[in-house]
Symmetry: none
Subunit: 221 residues, 2 copies
């Protein structure tokens, strides 16, 4: 009898975990060894339990998926990670793959895909869901639209650190001048960042920026 593929799940929604477990139970090849509702202690737990494949969400409270991937790298520990996200913008895809993820599935994917993804990744290959493959191909051929995301969602990860900093201050009702004073830069620079954010996030005005910041919990309240 062959060994089962040892799986670990990480997602902040318990119901999704329960659903995944139910789906994966239908396949005798798999054994779900455990799961986590956040990224905290995830790396150590995966290392301890001799996990073959980790299926992990990006957007988690506390420590997010990106940080977990970085921790794997810094600790010199490698694991077959399948990233599992609601977002599918090309920058996020690129980032997680560069950080060593072996697969990328959107939550829009069907349950069979995850089974295929696990077996593929377990056998040393990489796996991307259809929309992700298309994104990668379009990016390769240089045909991709700026900041496209088929589901209309852009992840906060596609924002640079400086932009994020400015976005937060904007959302705290700072004016351009106040931001420039707080960050010791010119108001011209602040407004350039604002313009770039408006373009990048595909909104019309500052109002749209604030809604984005709130939606993604970039600020409190």
């Amino acid at each position: 009898m062959t060994e089962k593929i040892r799986l670990f799940l990480a997602d902040d929604h318990q119901i999704l975990i329960d659903g995944l477990v139910a789906v994966l139970k239908t396949n005798k090849l798999f054994e779900v060894v455990g799961y986590s509702l956040s990224g905290e202690n995830l790396v150590d737990e995966v290392a301890d339990k001799n996990i073959d494949v980790l299926i992990m969400d990006i957007n988690m409270p506390g420590k997010d998926g990106i940080e977990v991937l970085k921790e794997f790298n810094s600790k010199g520990f490698s694991c077959n990670v399948i990233v599992f996200s609601s977002f599918d913008d090309i920058k996020l895809i690129k980032e997680v793959l560069q950080l060593g993820a072996k697969g990328y599935l959107t939550k829009q994917s069907a349950g069979e895909n995850i089974i295929e993804a696990i077996t593929t990744v377990y056998n040393g290959e990489e796996y991307y869901s259809k929309s992700v493959r298309e994104k990668i191909f379009l990016s390769f051929t240089g045909k991709e639209k700026e900041n496209d995301a088929t589901n209309g969602q852009i992840s906060p990860e596609s924002i640079t650190d400086r932009e994020l900093e400015i976005l937060k201050l904007i959302s705290l009702e700072y004016s351009g001048k106040e931001i420039s004073e707080a960050l010791f830069i010119s108001t011209n620079t602040v407004e350039t960042h604002r313009k770039n954010l408006i373009k990048k996030l595909n909104v019309k005005t500052t109002v749209g920026l604030v809604k984005f910041a709130l939606k993604h919990n970039l600020i409190n309240q």
Copy 2:
């Protein structure tokens, strides 16, 4: 043999649907008649298929859960709806319950909860997951954290209908001129309302207005 409880699911994440189906399959009482990845045509489909319980996400592209509930009401068609959301703020809970939802589950809930929720709601009672019950209780006893860490403590009720109308349009990225055209009033009037709102809500700029609107679920993100 008793009839099975006829279920319909609505969520924009296919994997969550697949997971729910797998979870629900373990119970002989249920039959998942169908599912939808958006709110479009949901009301008609549910009406056609003689559904007992609809399990529905709020955040869906196209037509969201709030709109679906409103459509149920306007078409005079009632259905046992269990709302199924990542969010659990009291305003949203209140809104969906006032719109006639019979249950409210957060996605942080476990799979067993949904089974309990379905049977409860099917038997004519209401069902709320633990964190939701706590929120409702705290709100009832007046012990809930007041909507704003600031000292303003302004409730949406202190806003007039007209101001609310304008606040919503502002939050949808309408400019003053666009609002004036939408409501057939002068831009002067729009700006007066904006000024009064800024004073009344004790914020500094339009950004503060938008945050207030989002916090109190005056608009759908």
